[in-house]
């Protein structure tokens, strides 16, 4: 009888897929840090069942006088569908390195990182912009999000 009652309770509590859908900040955990004065490392930890599109990342630095000139992406997984064709996606984690050809020399810079991803249950999130303040000499990961 106890087992039956537990099944009834579990059945009542079980909701649809939407009940387990994470907030985007939980699904895609962002951080960024200066690896060296001319190198920024951006990291996203991606929850199980979620993914980020490689071609939807974009990065910008403020002040704009500090340029970004190259991005190093790790190998991605291929994903194919009838609408977008072949797309590259990341699961679990992705770490991207950005090169600053003219380092800010002691001044703080703001990194703006745009990403967009989805959940396997068939839900996609709007592109999210994360901002991280980076300063030479401070190698602690930083980052917060804004839509």
């Amino acid at each position: 009888m106890v087992v039956l009652c537990l099944l009834i309770a579990a059945g009542t509590a079980a909701g649809g897929a939407e009940d387990t859908l994470l907030e985007p900040e939980q699904a895609f955990r962002f951080s960024a840090r200066l690896l060296a004065d001319d190198t920024v490392e951006v990291n996203y930890r991606i929850a199980d069942g979620y993914y980020l599109y490689k071609d939807r990342f974009s990065f910008k630095v403020e002040p704009e006088a500090v340029k970004l000139d190259s991005l190093e992406f790790p190998a991605a997984q291929w994903h194919e569908d009838e609408f977008f064709g072949r797309s590259e996606i990341y699961r679990r984690e992705v770490t991207i390195r950005l090169h600053l050809p003219s380092p800010p020399s002691g001044r703080a810079v703001d990194l703006l990182a745009v990403s967009q991803g989805c959940a396997d249950i068939g839900v996609c999130y709007l592109p999210t912009t994360h901002r991280a303040r980076l300063k030479a000499g401070s190698r602690r990961p930083a980052g917060r999000a804004r839509q």
Binding site: A14, E18, D19, E23, E82, F83, V123, C124
Partner: protein
């Protein structure tokens, strides 16, 4: 303990467990839906005419928040087009609210011959989707309203006719 007492105890415990399950479940904290805000929303359609969601009161209305960058959104639209053709004469009306740019929406609608109105909400429409009960802001997000503009059901994620029809058909027959 008599059979009757055991049966009564069984029923009491089962009902208690079911109630506990409900109140501990996400349904107990179901997101609020600001139906009035949704109905009063005025956005331009693909002809540039401002339309209010309320304009379709009297129909069984399926309001679908979507975007062209969202794969599950695109996958469900051909099914919506087929359902609109078949059940439109019975009072079914799909309405797309695009959380996207007008040019991209227009191109998609032409290529895929979307046969129902689409309102252009740009990225800001996601706030309307949140007001309409979509707390996490994911897409697609779909609401079914009856002919009196009451929200009957909401869906997060991609839909198929098999999931939508059992909700819509009984409302159309009322």
């Amino acid at each position: 303990m008599t059979y009757l007492a055991r049966a009564s105890l069984f029923v009491a415990v089962a009902v208690g467990a079911a109630l506990a399950g409900f109140f501990l479940s996400p349904y107990a904290q179901a997101p609020k839906i600001d139906t009035a805000a949704l109905l009063a929303t005025s956005l331009p359609d693909l002809d540039g005419q401002r339309r209010r969601v309320e304009d379709w009161r009297g129909k069984v209305l399926v309001v679908n928040f979507w975007a062209t960058w969202c794969l599950p959104c695109l996958e469900e639209i051909p099914e919506f087009v087929r359902m609109q053709s078949r059940l439109g004469p019975n009072g079914l009306q799909f309405l797309g609210i695009a959380v996207d740019q007008e040019d991209k929406v227009r191109d998609f609608a032409q290529v895929h011959q979307v046969n129902y109105p689409i309102l252009i909400g740009h990225a800001g429409a996601i706030e309307l989707a949140r007001l309409a009960g979509n707390a996490q802001g994911g897409l697609p997000y779909t609401l079914v309203l009856d002919r009196r503009a009451r929200v009957i059901k909401t869906f997060h994620g991609g839909l198929t006719e098999a999931k939508l029809a059992p909700v819509i058909i009984p409302i159309l027959q009322r």
